[in-house]
Symmetry: C2
Subunit: 190 residues, 2 copies
DNA sequence: GTCTATAACGTGATAGAC
DNA sequence: GTCTATCACGTTATAGAC
């Protein structure tokens, strides 16, 4: 693992924005290097291949998810505020920079991604579903959420809905995402 | 509008498969032409630019949607079988060829798409939501579906859920899509 | 009317300069 | 340790052959 430098972090930050805006096949090393005032080949020093860069990005998404949910997974936080926090994160990312969830982007381009990136994508999705399942099941036990069927199924449905709605919002307008979120809340109210 | 030839149709069919498998930025004219035994430049005779090809593809998705829903939009069919028909279409497309909904692909790559393709994507999403809203509202009126809030919000939520779930299924396995669909049915049962 | 040869450019990546 | 000059290749697109 390479040393963490400022340049490396700046590259990751720029790549993150570009990935969420344009997809993995929609940006090049030049898009990263030019605003930094260096040549595109300089990126190869920090990430030898674009696959390496992609893997690092996906690992970072997993770390972010882990950090934001660690305390919940271990000792059980407030399920309502957990779900609201996640929803707000999606809403803010979309409102501020038009960003949608990386998992949908990974899926759209899945069959063009190198093997190690696919693996990271799988881990990220599995971890996301596992966390949301815990949140929803605990919320149901406490009487805060109401739904039928397994918590895992509802977790998949809620995550899918938020992910898809942000995508539709990019095409058809921001209110689409707000309406979807309002509906999720209504449906969970029971 | 160019004459409809066999070659033109074959190109559209191949491009359709490639788009849904790899995304619009994930395939080239060569990927289309090589299996057909012609040079990649030959495609330019039928579709002068890749943008033209993309627009034709999106228009075709709109036509397919219109054909499948025309009779419902005009005189009102059975809402349950309409929704089940659409769900089954998504399920089959995924099971047979690993395909996901084009709207998610459009969204992931939206900011890299030429203007005329963006426009077609917007129309497709609007038409999809409008149709599903009618289906759900009529189903609620008939007592077949149960949900709170505006039909448009539920339509957005259901469409988003199916779209997102097919994406997650591509990454995490087909049962994810089946679980999401089961949950949608349970939630509509009320 | 249909397709091929070829151009013009952008891409990820290597080798080596400083 | 960090970056640049350059390469080999794939891309979309044009000009023109048949």
């Amino acid at each position: 693992m390479a040393k963490v430098t400022n340049t490396r972090l700046a590259i990751l930050g720029a790549a993150d924005r570009l990935l969420l805006e344009r997809g993995f096949n929609g940006f090049s090393y030049k898009d990263i290097s030019e605003p930094m005032g260096i040549k595109n080949a300089a990126i190869h020093y920090h990430f030898s291949t674009k696959e390496d860069l992609g893997v690092a990005l996906f690992q970072r998404y997993r770390e972010i998810l882990r950090d934001r949910t660690a305390e919940f997974m271990s000792r059980g936080g407030n399920p309502v505020s957990q779900l609201e926090g996640y929803s707000q994160f999606i809403l803010d990312s979309f409102a501020q920079r038009g960003e949608i969830c990386p998992m949908g982007i990974m899926a759209a381009e899945f069959h063009t991604l190198p093997a190690r990136m696919k693996k990271q994508a799988q881990l990220l999705v599995d971890e996301m579903i596992a966390w949301l399942e815990q949140v929803l099941e605990l919320g149901r036990k406490e009487g805060a959420f109401h739904f039928e069927g397994p918590g895992r199924s509802k977790a998949i449905a809620v995550k899918s809905c938020l992910q898809g709605a942000a995508q539709l919002a990019r095409v058809a307008g921001a209110e689409v995402l707000e309406e979807a979120l309002a509906q999720i809340r209504r449906d969970l109210r029971g």
